[in-house]
Amino acid sequence: MTMAARSDAPKRIVILGAGSAIAEEAARAWARRGPVRFALVGRQPDRLEAVAANLRVLGAEAASYAADLDTADAAALISRMAAEMGRLDIVLLAYGTLGDQQACERDPKAASQLLHTNFISAAAWCLAAASALEAQGHGSLVVIGSVAGDRGRASNFIYGAAKGGLGILLQGLAHRLTKAGARAVLIKPGFVDTPMTAHISGRGGPLWSTPARVAAVIVKVAEPASKGRAIVYAPRFWRWIMFVIRNIPERIFHKTRL
């Protein structure tokens, strides 16, 4: 694919987990910026259709692909979408589940399910998308990780392990894709006010962000011209918070209840 083809409108964007609050905000932001053709993947057809209808009214084209991202054949669906759309400019992976740490500690099956959803299946989508981007010689893979992947904490280290693993995977993919002219970026949001965190009390403090703010970071780093890092915190100040958290000596860290 040549440079000229890259700027051809509309932009082709695949969203894995299009029903997520952050993904929908990113999709709206893309739709407002210019012509886009979306492929929306998610489990619930009605919800996908609601998201798609809105994007169409905002001027974009949108096709829904109902699939359970946890179990679907990633490679097959990525090739199908690439074929139907002509090319892939951006692939955003936005699905995941916070799970229940305590249930996972009691029941290894629940733990392995959580790891499967957040890491094994996500890795399959990332690898399939990376191959497609590598073959066409351009495009961005953007994956939503979490600051929970930066250091294991008693309160959510199984979710954290999956998101941490995704970080290593994305670093490797970014390294591999550079040669082909494509990119891979992991976004690490801090606390975001979404349905995923609706059960947490004390939301809304200075550390809490909104899906729209995280989406703005996603839109920015997904630009082909963006020269950013492979790991991006959203909002950016989380980079410094997590720097401190990663460097707290163990003997002190173990006394906390984080």
Binding site: G19, Q44, L58, S201
Partner: protein, 437 residues
Amino acid sequence: MIFQRRADVVSWGRVVRVPQTVAMPRFRDEIADAMMSEMPGGLLAIGQRRSYGDSIFNTGGHLIDMRALDRFLAFDRDTGILRAEAGVTLGQIMRLAVPAGYFPAVTPGTRHVTLGGALANDVHGKNHHVAGTFGRHVTRIGLLRSDGYRELSPGDNLFAATIGGLGLTGVILWAEIQLQRIGSSDLDVEITPYDSLEAFWQLAEASTASHEHTVAWIDFAARGRKLGRGIFTRANWRATGSLQTHSEGFRRSVPFEVPFCLLSGPSMRAFNALYYRVQKGKRGPQVQPYADFFHPLDAVADWNRLYGRRGFYQYQCVVPAGSMRDAIAALVGAIVQAGQGSALAVLKTCGAIPSPGLLSFPMEGATLALDFPNRGAETLALMSRLDGIVREAGGRLYAAKDGRIPKETWAAGYPQTATFARFVDPRFASDFWRRVA
């Protein structure tokens, strides 16, 4: 959908502060699930919380915050028919519709209201004398009741109950509205200072046929012979020109709640005097973008915080044409006599177009809206005196506003309440409804 107890749910007047149990769904199917289960204290859907009083509260029950259901479903650029989820704001609609040459047929004084809220309060605007209320431009409603989902059209009894029904007939999931064609996003505006209520009535009457939008602001710093003086504004959309949307941000904001009221007593009078002078300086014809004309207060985020910790009451009444001149003079006189005044006193004549809702507020006559800082018993006593004048004149009060309308005053203004009650969903409730029903 997870319900959470929150202490930060306040209505625009900020008087009542009672913790509420709230959930914020993102998809319509989540609400259907919640309705299947028993919800102690009942349900009520709420939007942007721009109602001033207690009609958005359901203390001891459950609230469904609809703001995340903010998707467009369809927009026909040939006919101007728009269908959207209830949480879409009028501001969002304007951003979509204005470049296509359309505008909501009715807009209240703020664009930060949801479609569902505009419909549930059957809001009106400066063009009431030619367009009627918001509900007149609603062509279809998707309503989820505890006994099932249905689609309503004008003419249905449940449609009439839902328009202006304060969310009590079920959850408005989506609505379809007919937008108005515009040739420009600007209006030709004419600002005219007037020096007595008599002059206001003459201006209002002379402008109904020639102008689509009319409104007046009363200067409560004026006394004696100048009592009732103010600024009369009238406008028409320009026929042609650019179609530019408003900017999303706020020009100014009130970043925190001031500990005391900045808009009472001498400061309020100073504000009135200054505002009068500034507006008088702007007299004459001019061109204004729609946001400046319709939503001047939207330029200041959270302006309601200026009223301080105790908040403020907004009091809005409408009195019928036959008695409006005497009644408005009596109301203005009573306010001045009480030494209270109001920073934002808005006076407007309403036209004869019937409102489609059973509990719609507007009627042919004149409506007066006032802001009173909450000074406790003193303020309540004043409003009670005003209630007497309104009842005597055969008028009524706006449910979205003061949050304390006594049951008898409500019943006198809305004799249809008993009919309306038959359409209230048995699983729905609000603090307002418990007070007046």
